[in-house]
Structures are given as C-alpha cells and as structure tokens.
C-alpha cells in the first residue's frame, strides 16, 4: 500500500503567509458585496477549514484565492504575490502553484482518469515518462482505476471527485483550495482524501477547505473559521475551565 507521505515531500519556508487578505471587498456582477472588508491569512503548512451557511461568501473567498475574482477594495496576496494587477500570463503561471478542487469538478470527458490527472503536468510542460509513476501512485492511493479504458464521462461520481482531488494535488502545488472535498464520499474514501491532504500539509502545502461540515476541522487538525455575511472570523477552541 502506498502511503500518502511517500507521495509528497518538500521543505517549506513558513515565515511568509501563503495567503493574506486585508480589507478585501469583492463580488460578482449581480451581487457586488459578497465579501465585506474581509481579513484572512494562512501560513505554509497550515490547514484552514472554513464553514458557513450558503451565501456566506465561501465560494467568493475561494474565487479570490484561485485568482478568478479580483478584490474591488483591499489587498489580496496569494503565495506572496499581490493578485490585483497580474498580467494574464503571470496569473496563469501563479495558478500552476494552486490546486483547486471545485464542489462540482469538471473533468475532460474524453480523457481517462490518468490523462485527466496528468493534465496540469502536461500543461506545465512535463514529459509523460517523468510523471507517469506519480500519477499512477496517486490514483492507486485514492482507489481510482487509472487505466481501465473508461473515459471520465463513464466514471462514477465518487471516482470523479477523487480524480479531481488527484488532479488538484498532482503538481505539488503550494496552495490547495478544496470545496466540500468529502461530500458524498464513503467513510473509507473520505478518510483517504483527508490523509492525502494531511500529508500535503506536512510537506508544507497550505490547504484551505470550505465545507458545511465543521467536523472536518477536527479530523484534519485544522484551524476552523466561520463565515457569515461576507466576513470571516477564526473559531477559538473552548478550553476546559
């Protein structure tokens, strides 16, 4: 059995926040004020679990962090880069250091799991023989058949989610953003996914998870944050008197 720790191994500099948002306001065309004066930061090797009711702004926060949504006010630094005025190419290059797993992941339907997972590496110019072993190990760990002839459209929902997580982590990104990573998965599979995220954390990757299941924070040993009305605050653990 392949261990999650065997897949990722990296030294990190934890002095500089991987993510720092200061007074960030952001929104969409139809709703401009989703994020309201939001302050948030996460250091390398940290896991932040963000919970909140629907409409609290979790998706908007992830959209800012994945460089899809620019703040209208405030500053957003992702992996040490102020993202407000990035060129298209610089933005694309920075995204290669960010692994994103959407709540409704979209795979390339014409590709099998292996090709889908290796896509970020191909886009980064890696050679197939250099990454084939890593991709196979990752898929085996997550229990996704890598070469059974099925294209993505024929995978089950659970397999698609696992392949999407594998795709998000395969390039050893410095920041992982995952929306509801364990939703709809069996306990065993969810456990594997969490072990994978934990091993990446140990390798220095910053992981930000949005969920409505606050238990995830405990399972990951992570700092829990709550969002409401476009604002975020850390949840201070209650201590026994």
């Amino acid at each position: 059995m392949i261990s999650a720790d065997a897949i990722f191994d990296r030294d990190t500099d934890s002095a500089v926040p991987a993510v720092r948002l200061r007074g960030v306001k952001a929104g969409y065309r139809k709703r401009h004020d989703v994020l309201r004066n939001l302050d948030f930061e996460a250091y390398p090797g940290a896991i932040a679990v963000i919970s909140g009711p629907p409409g609290a702004g979790k998706t908007a926060l992830i959209d800012v962090l994945r460089l899809f949504l620019n703040p209208t006010e405030g500053t957003a630094e992702v992996l040490g880069v102020n993202v407000s005025k990035l060129s298209g190419t610089a933005r694309a290059k920075l995204k290669r250091d960010i692994g994103f797993m959407s709540e409704s992941p979209v795979l390339a339907d014409h590709m099998d799991a292996f090709d889908n997972v290796s896509l970020p590496l191909r886009l980064a110019g890696a050679k197939a023989n250099a990454y084939a072993g890593d991709v196979e190990d990752l898929l085996k760990f997550l229990g996704v058949p890598e070469r059974d002839g099925r294209i993505a459209s024929a995978l089950t929902g659970s397999e698609k989610r696992r392949a999407a997580l594998a795709r998000a982590v395969v390039g050893r990104p410095r920041l992982i953003l995952a929306e509801e990573p364990t939703a709809g998965l069996s306990q065993e599979i969810a456990g594997r996914m969490l072990r994978l995220l934990a091993s990446m954390r140990r390798a220095g990757t910053t992981i930000i998870v949005t969920t409505q299941d606050e238990n995830l924070a405990e399972q990951l040993g992570a700092q829990l944050w709550r969002m409401r009305d476009g604002r975020i605050a850390p949840v201070i653990a209650e201590t026994a008197a």
Binding site: L69, R91, A92, K93, V106
Partner: protein
C-alpha cells in the same frame, strides 16, 4: 496520449464546412468560366475586320490582295468573301432562296487581328495595302459589337463579384463552424484555466483542431466541387466551356481547403479566447 481537446463530436460541423467549401469552389469556378467566356467573345468580336478592295479590278486582284493582306503585320485568318460564303451568310436573314449567282461581286476580304490592335489600325492596314498597289477600305468592329463587348464584360464583372461574395460567405461558414465547435467544448476551458493553462495554450489547442478539421472538410468540399464541375462540363450545353479551362483555374480548388482551415482556425481561436477570458480573467 489523449489530445487536450476532444477530436470526436464534430461530424455535423465537418459536413457543414465541406458543403460550404464545395459551394465556395463552385461559385468561383463558375465566375471564372463566365469571365473567360466573356473574354473569349470579346476577343472574337474585337478582332474581326473587313477590307473592301476598290482597285485594281482585275479578276485576280482579290486573290493578290488577300496575299498582300496576309503579309501585313498583325493580320491573321485572311478569308475572301466568296459569293458562296456571302450567300450562306445572307440566307440567315433573306431566306433559303438566295443564290450566289444572285449577288453582285462583293470584293470583300475578312481578316482578324492577332493581338489587340491600336485604334487607328484600320488606317495602317489601308496604307500598307496602298503601298502594295491596292486601294482598299478597311473596317473594324462596329459600334454594336463594341457595345455588346461592353455589356458582356459588365455581366462577367457581376458574375465575378457574385462568385467572390459567395466564396467569402461560404468560407465564413468555416469560421463560424470553428467558433461553434469551441462552444460545444467550452466546459473544458474552465478547468484548463484553473490549472494554469495560458490563453495561448488553450487557443492553440482549439485552433489546431479546427484548422485540421477545416482543412479536411475543405478538401472534401474541393473534391466534391471537382466532381460536380467535371460532370457539368460534360453536359452538352457546357462542353465548349471545358475547352476554356486553364491550369490556373485549379486555384480555387486548391485554395478552398487552405482558406477553410485558416478561417476555421481563426474562428476557433477567437471563440476560445473569449471563453478563456470568461473562465480565467478576474472580474
């Protein structure tokens, strides 16, 4: 390795481009043939001349004048208008009873110019004949012929314009097909953008696919146009047109696949850039 953009799923658009390309090639070929036909009629009408030999009046003068006329620079196809030829010509208007013996001695020689002559060429020919001992009046194409030529040239220009517009419109279909093909796969662009694919990487992948499909469809269309043209030109009303075809008339058949590829690729590039912008650019 599986290509980043799917190859399957473009059959409907492939056939749209193939048929549009075929129509484009046929439109240009038809316009070319119309132009060639008008040019040919123009050349025939513009080059017809008649010399009337006034002196000397001897029995052999007409034959001698024909020999002298044949030696004039730029003159070709010299023919004496014999009573038989004149009668045959006049029967078109006067009915079948006109006999050669009914006609006076016409003393006419028809000839044509082997190149586009100067405006005063009839005087040059008359002067040359005078130098050879013949008094002759030389007549060029009349105003009716010149007007007919002008009209046929106008019609040919209209045919070329319509052919060009049809060619452009048909090939624009290739561009639109390229755009539509990208639209059907636009869901793929969002994860690619999230993974850090640059705009160039995305648009190159889609443009290359559309260009290959456009070229193949264009080839199919050009092949179809060739078959259709070969069939049409074997039909009795158009057989004479086939003789007017030249090597360079293959140009639209060769250009069609290349232009279809170019336009389909450009359409796909433009559409993928737009979808990429939606998927990746921060708002």
């Amino acid at each position: 390795m599986t290509p980043i953009v799917p190859r399957a799923g473009g059959a409907a658009l492939f056939w749209v481009v193939a048929i549009a390309s075929m129509l484009a090639a046929i439109a240009v070929l038809s316009a070319l043939l119309a132009h060639r036909s008008a040019d040919s009629a123009d050349a025939v009408l513009r080059s017809q001349y008649i010399a009337r030999i006034l002196a000397p009046e001897s029995a052999t003068a007409l034959d001698d004048a024909a020999i002298a006329l044949n030696a004039v620079d730029g003159v070709e196809a010299v023919r004496i208008v014999t009573p038989e030829r004149a009668a045959a010509l006049l029967r078109n208007w006067g009915g079948p009873n006109i006999q050669p013996t009914d006609l006076p001695a016409l003393r006419l020689i028809t000839f044509s110019a082997d190149r586009s002559p100067a405006a005063d060429w009839t005087q040059t020919v008359a002067a040359t004949m005078r130098g050879a001992g013949f008094q002759a009046e030389v007549y060029g194409p009349g105003p009716a012929a010149v007007e007919a030529v002008r009209k046929s040239q106008e019609l040919a220009s209209v045919a070329i314009a319509i052919g060009g517009v049809l060619f452009g419109a048909a090939l624009l279909t290739a561009g639109l097909a390229g755009r539509t093909r990208v639209a059907s796969d636009r869901m793929l662009i969002r994860p690619l953008a999230d993974m850090g694919a640059t705009r160039g990487q995305v648009s190159r992948a889609f443009a290359a696919r559309a260009a290959v499909e456009g070229f193949t469809a264009g080839l199919m269309g050009a092949f179809g146009a060739s078959l259709l043209a070969a069939w049409a030109l074997s039909l009795p009303p158009f057989v004479a047109w086939a003789a007017q075809l030249r090597q360079e008339d293959a140009a639209p058949l060769l250009a069609t696949p290349l232009l279809a590829a170019l336009l389909a690729g450009a359409g796909a590039r433009s559409a993928s850039n737009r979808f990429y912008a939606n998927a990746a650019r921060s708002r």
